[in-house]
Symmetry: C2
Subunit: 248 residues, 2 copies
Amino acid sequence: MFNLVNMSSALAADADPGPSSAGASGSTRDRIRDAAVLRFARSGFGTSVRTIAADAGVSPALVIHHFGSKDALHAACDEHVLAGIVESKRQNMGRATGGQLLQVLAEVDEYAPLLGYVVRSLQAGGDVARAFVEHMIEDARGYTREAVAAGIAKPSVDEDARVRYLTLSSLGTLSLALTLNPPEDPEDVGATVRTFLAEHYLPMIELYAQGFLTSRRMLDDYLLYVSDPPTGGESDDAPAPETTNEEP
Amino acid sequence: MFNLVNMSSALAADADPGPSSAGASGSTRDRIRDAAVLRFARSGFGTSVRTIAADAGVSPALVIHHFGSKDALHAACDEHVLAGIVESKRQNMGRATGGQLLQVLAEVDEYAPLLGYVVRSLQAGGDVARAFVEHMIEDARGYTREAVAAGIAKPSVDEDARVRYLTLSSLGTLSLALTLNPPEDPEDVGATVRTFLAEHYLPMIELYAQGFLTSRRMLDDYLLYVSDPPTGGESDDAPAPETTNEEP
DNA sequence: CAGCAGGCTGAACACGTGTTTAATCTGGTG
DNA sequence: CACCAGATTAAACACGTGTTCAGCCTGCTG
């Protein structure tokens, strides 16, 4: 749940054309890029250059002229979306640290295009997906540390692994739910996410609040089985899942 | 975790050519279908008919001759995989009810192709994905009911929503993890899943065993917020006996 | 044996794709 | 004005795709 809070705050930015990014060349280039982001989010990365060009009211050749290739356009969109995420993170720093998830979600409509694009990336895999997930893990690490320190969250045997799992779980669940039940109106990602939460928020928070099993036995059995909690050395099997995270 | 057990048992079948399905026409048709399943699992549903034909040692025209179109071939693969899942479910009924997840996973290699195909379907969305998830939810419902009755799992405010969430969460996490970190050898799905579990089993079971939050407050707040829990049980205050886990 | 249905194929077709090319238009500068 | 760099485009190119077509081969039946 902290992960969804995190995600919400991480995306609270609109995609209005601002002279922030590097190029700042012409307005047409930005218009094409914005159309591409929107179209990619709505119809996936298989969308043809011709369709994007039509959306932007421009010839296909101009798209290539400005970006060099479709892959380069895709990369430019990735960069733009990622930059928007980072920017919005700065703006919404600390807003959602508490846990008033619903209030944050009420404003979800503002950043719908970015969210749609990210979900599409999560389904397709690739650099945005990885970078986005790493960003969220990094943030969740901070939130979780604070929550543990404040006595809100329980400590974990392996804090790092837990943060990674919780983040992956939240995003994966959302992504799968959207894949299985695609919204009739891909424009309104806000409504979609709200629908998702309406169905899954209760079981999610229940699991987080009280767990699922009645005893710690399975956990302790597993801890005994691996016999080397991450605080110590390692031994036989368990192919050493090291948690490498850098890249802020 | 019960979901992963469920999934494991649900897939313990190989894709050997059996005269089970309707047609039972020629062996070549089945060979093409099997090659398609394998190739779709390995490289996604965008794979060209020519590639599949080459895999099966056959001309592209023959593929169309036998299945009519690529979409029809896709549908045939879906049906075949789904049938294999149902069949294997019958065979492995009750084997994994206990929870010896690791033993089941040791045999994961047998049903690797089916698993790969299902994961690809989960990423792409579509009928197999939906049907597969619904199957797994149905099974998980049974497992969970037994677990609750046996005192292994805690009861839920909304059993149905919990089963749906837990299943979606398990599958979504696996799917996302595989998307973000695609295996270098797509053949060996078994190794991939084992790697996934090596990294995420501990935090998953820890979450299931002890939860994440220290108090029920957020849950109770939410229950108060919606003010109509589906079971019609506790409504206003008096938030059920606290369920802090103690060692048995 | 003749004949024929069906598995099977190489070559082609129609089409959509990303990209290139040559040309036009436009706006600013000497 | 002449000129030029850049934005912009229509048309074409090269290619990969799913699919079709006409014919070959094979094995079975009369």
